[in-house]
């Protein structure tokens, strides 16, 4: 089938830095191939802007195959655009109509401050990971083969489903409260379901939830928008598991003082 081209008008959020005032600017873009990806379309726009000696639009991208979590973009009011279960880099221009106005905004959350244009600072997720999103294993030559521990298939499947989270932040951008509980729930679940992760489970959930709160993410009101917009289909089930894990740390008299893994 021959490639088709469309003409579109882009309404893109432009903001020089986190302090500057941003605004939506219009750009007419012609002869966009419907076979091109959304990011390729933005590349085409930037080439035109550079030709005109204008400032190109800054946006995040890396793998362009839906696994790195770098691309973001709020497209026509939806995180990662109109296609469900798809990252922005996997979204193609065939999903849009000729003559359509396409609104492109950055993730909006207090915990994700804008760096420039469509790029936001998602290092809050990194800091949450750093306080517990891992297991401590002796790697001095006596490391046990992970496959030597039998794990029920259902648990392995659920852990794998949780591990599919790419940390893109669509859940936060979509949530009316700016909550990161789907992300943290997925990370907590990923380890809590496996024997290797159970050892540090209590400290992990406490530390990650504490860091999540300190980063300024909002609370979860269980409306489930995050689950719908998550490009990897992470389920609310993982938030429930995180809640159970956290509950298992109560009553406070039985709490272990949470350890800072970096210092232990």
């Amino acid at each position: 089938m021959a490639a088709k081209t469309i003409n579109i008008t882009l309404k893109i959020w432009r903001q020089k830095n986190s302090k500057a005032k941003g605004e939506l600017k219009s750009y007419a873009l012609e002869n966009v191939s419907t076979d091109s990806s959304f990011l390729e379309m933005l590349d085409q726009l930037n080439e035109e802007l550079l030709t005109k000696k204008e400032e190109p639009v800054a946006f995040d991208h890396d793998c362009r195959e839906g696994i790195c979590g770098s691309c973001s973009l709020y497209i026509n009011g939806r995180a990662h655009g109109p296609e469900t279960g798809t990252t922005t880099c996997q979204l193609h221009m065939r999903k849009f109509k000729d003559g359509e106005n396409i609104y492109i905004e950055p993730w909006r959350s207090a915990a994700f401050p804008i760096i420039k244009d469509l790029i936001v600072d998602r290092s809050a997720f990194d800091r949450i990971q750093q306080v517990g999103g891992f297991i401590s294993v002796n790697t001095s030559g006596k490391t046990m083969d992970a496959n030597a521990i039998p794990i029920p298939k259902s648990d392995a499947d659920k852990a794998f489903e949780a591990a599919a989270c790419i940390g893109c932040g669509a859940c936060v951008a979509t949530c009316k409260n700016g909550s990161a509980m789907l992300f943290v729930g997925a990370k907590v679940s990923q380890y809590a379901l496996l024997p290797q992760g159970k050892v540090e489970a209590k400290q992990r959930v406490q530390n990650m939830v504490r860091q999540m709160d300190e980063e300024g993410f909002g609370n979860c009101s269980n409306t489930g928008a995050c689950e719908i917009e998550c490009p990897k289909g992470i389920s609310l089930e993982h938030i429930a598991r995180m809640n159970r894990e956290f509950l298992s740390c109560l009553p406070p008299s039985k709490l272990h003082e949470a350890q800072n893994f970096n210092n232990s």
């Binding site: 909006r108 959350s109 207090a110 009316k176 409260n177 700016g178 909550s179 509980m181 406490q206 530390n207 939830v209 504490r210 999540m212 709160d213 300024g216 993410f217 909002g218 609370n219 979860c220 009101s221 269980n222 409306t223 609310l236 089930e237 938030i239 429930a240 598991r241 995180m242 809640n243 159970r244 956290f246 509950l247 740390c249 109560l250 406070p252 008299s253 709490l255 003082e257 949470a258």
Partner: protein, 238 residues
């Protein structure tokens, strides 16, 4: 993480919201069963039955403890939500649907402000003289020709409610409309809140979660509907 900070964490707040919310759901059921006497039991028997219920609710020590637990739950439930609300105002500039102020009043079945205190605080007001089914023996009040002691004086709540919602009161229609509207708000809140409480407590199961969601939707429809029918039927029949 210290003990105090774990209790202030975002997830601990979810537990509080869930537990107080579910407790208030049981409160709704209890209050509904009591209030339904207003429309299902007619005449003097209905008056006696409802006033006995009201007297029991205001004088029984266990109920008294439960009522304070209810007040605390409502305050905590609303305060926790308010904290989230202010967070949203501060960080996201969104305007959320916020219903607690109205809901908390209606859960207590308040036709108007003053009556709330009559319902929940022991009253020493004398019984109205036109209550023919009652008689005074010394300082105490009994049902006529019985040994059932009512109190040393109380307000006839059945009459208060019936009078307020009857057509003889020119403001009754506004009271009915406000009550019905409030129940609509409560229904919307319960539509999400009932199942949400279980999710917050970590209950998410392939088989049970759909059942809980359907049960919550049923609860959200029937409980506010029955509450709303009470003033409507009183208005239409009086």
């Amino acid at each position: 993480m210290s003990n105090s900070s774990i209790l202030k964490s975002s997830i601990a707040k979810k537990y509080w919201m869930a537990l107080t919310g579910l407790f208030l759901c049981t409160f709704l059921i209890g209050h509904l069963l009591g209030n339904l006497q207003l429309i299902f039991i007619d005449g003097e028997e209905g008056r006696r039955s409802f006033n006995e219920y009201a007297y029991f609710m205001t004088h029984n020590p266990a109920i008294k403890i439960l009522s304070y637990l209810t007040y605390i739950s409502i305050l905590f439930h609303a305060a926790t939500h308010m904290a989230n609300f202010w967070w949203k105002v501060k960080f996201t500039q969104e305007i959320p649907l916020h219903t607690y102020k109205i809901e908390s009043k209606q859960e207590m079945n308040i036709p108007k402000g003053q009556d709330f205190y009559y319902t929940h605080v022991p009253s020493i007001q004398p019984i109205p003289k036109d209550t023919n089914s009652l008689e005074e023996k010394g300082t105490a009040i009994y049902y006529k020709n019985t040994n059932i002691k009512i109190a040393d004086g109380y307000i006839d709540l059945h009459k208060v409610v019936m009078t307020f919602f009857s057509k003889s009161n020119p403001n009754a229609i506004f009271g009915v409309l406000f009550y019905v509207l409030s129940m609509l708000v409560l229904a919307f809140h319960l539509w999400h809140g009932f199942a949400s409480a279980f999710q917050s407590l970590g209950v998410n199961h392939a088989k049970w979660t759909p059942i809980i969601k359907n049960l919550g939707k049923g609860f959200a429809v029937f409980v506010p509907l029955l509450f709303a029918l009470i003033p409507i039927l009183i208005y239409l029949n009086n």
